[in-house]
């Protein structure tokens, strides 16, 4: 990677770290068209499939940077995004797995790290799969509480629970069920 690319990547790390949405949008748009047309041509994808592949690759890149899993690049950002796309396509074509989320993709990309962190990766993947199948009201309660940082009281008001205690009880049951599924999957 040349000095100019290094400087660009440093800026990307800084801006993504600061959570600047305008920058994320600009970065997303910057590589989209070339990426989508190349993969449509090379892998005979339609526009929608090409776009979905780009979404997954951008998501992987963005959160690898944001979560400090990617701190240096040996190539340009564009080459890196294309690299993720090619690996995902190879894996999909081999029909070993259908990639549905970031954890799937990261497992493929980071397979050289898996030996050290295999258990942790494996558990994270299982948790993600379980969470993707969580339905309401658990889904709403857990998202509002743990992601949007709503208070139990405002969750109660929004979802129709009268008491905070009822939401607390339901939240606890939801976590208990997820943990039960996690234990079943791991055992």
């Amino acid at each position: 990677m040349n000095k100019k690319q290094e400087a660009l990547f440093e800026e990307v790390v800084r801006q993504i770290g600061s959570g600047d949405e305008g920058f994320a949008k600009q970065l997303y748009q910057q590589y989209k068209d070339r990426f989508v047309s190349w993969f449509m041509k090379q892998y005979k994808l339609n526009q929608q499939e090409g776009l979905e592949l780009y979404h997954r690759c951008f998501l992987v890149f963005y959160y690898q940077v944001k979560r400090s899993k990617l701190t240096a690049l040996s190539s340009s950002i564009e080459t890196y995004l294309f690299g993720i796309g090619k690996k995902l396509m190879m894996k999909e074509q081999a029909k070993e797995r259908i990639f549905q989320d970031l954890a799937d993709a990261e497992l493929v990309l980071a397979n050289h790290d898996i030996t050290d962190q295999e258990d942790q990766f494996h558990q994270q993947l299982i948790v993600r799969q379980i969470l993707k199948n969580v339905t309401d009201p658990c889904k709403s309660i857990l998202t509002l509480y743990y992601f949007r940082n709503f208070s139990l009281e405002s969750i109660a008001n929004r979802l129709g629970y009268q008491s905070v205690g009822a939401v607390k009880k339901k939240k606890s049951l939801c976590l208990k069920n997820i943990r039960k599924q996690l234990k079943n999957e791991i055992d």
Partner: protein, 253 residues
């Protein structure tokens, strides 16, 4: 993971334990394997919730950015050669023919989509303290999926109920019962009443179910308006479901 454990672990991660509680907590972590595993799982699960929600959010944003780009006006080309006109008209004729051919299937399309997305709303009110026997019986009928009985019992509740919140709840679950039985008109009326109430209880939930009423009834214009309304608020409880449903609808167009 009992509720007490849950609160204790949560307080630990929020740094809300007193020095004494923290000491006892750390001792338990060392001496009780099951407790330590519970703490570890709690962290794994709650981190997972944050990460999956965060990623879903970015994915939604990317789709919005794509729509913004595709909504921008395209360059106009003023070359009306016969070939170009034919090229423009051919897809229109084909699409029109397709729509006419498929118009007899519109009804089953709405039904399919409805079945994909419709789940009667959970009973989240039975813990509420109330002495109203009819109300409790109505909820019991609802939980047993006896929707005819639910409707009858809520009729009785609504004849006498004065409490605004209880009225909203009764209307909402009666609407659910009607919708489960396929009575779209009554369901729509009740859900509209819940949405129009000053009290926000069940408002967003009702907006989502109103959308499903329109989908099932193939009321396409109303469905479009309802989706657009939900999608104006990215914090809407059913924002993601509405987006998914919109994608499904767009695929069918």
């Amino acid at each position: 993971m009992t509720m007490e454990h849950n609160e204790l672990i949560e307080a630990y991660f929020k740094n809300e334990l007193s020095a004494e509680e923290l000491k006892s907590f750390q001792e338990r972590l060392k001496s009780e394997m099951e407790f330590a595993a519970e703490v570890e799982d709690y962290q794994l699960i709650t981190e997972g919730i944050k990460q999956v929600s965060e990623e879903t959010d970015l994915l939604e944003k990317m789709k919005t950015w794509d729509e913004e780009v595709s909504a921008k006006p395209q360059r106009t080309i003023f070359l009306f050669t016969p070939i170009r006109i034919a090229a423009v008209l051919a897809p229109i004729i084909l699409v029109s023919a397709f729509i006419i051919y498929n118009s007899s299937n519109v009804s089953s399309d709405g039904q399919d989509l409805f079945e994909t997305y419709f789940i009667p709303y959970d009973d989240v009110v039975s813990n509420r303290s109330n002495d109203d026997t009819d109300f409790r019986m109505a909820m019991s009928a609802y939980n047993s999926k006896d929707y005819n009985k639910t409707v009858q019992l809520f009729d009785k509740v609504l004849e006498t109920e004065q409490d605004t919140e209880q009225v909203i709840i009764a209307r909402f679950y009666q609407a659910m019962a009607y919708l489960s039985n396929g009575n779209l008109d009554n369901s729509e009326t009740l859900l509209n009443a819940v949405v129009a109430a000053k009290n926000p209880l069940f408002r967003e939930v009702s907006e989502w179910y109103l959308l499903l009423v329109y989908i099932k009834g193939n009321q396409n214009d109303e469905a479009d308006r309802q989706i657009a309304q939900i999608l104006t608020n990215s914090d809407h409880l059913y924002y993601q479901q509405a987006r998914l449903l919109k994608e499904d609808l767009d695929k069918r167009e």
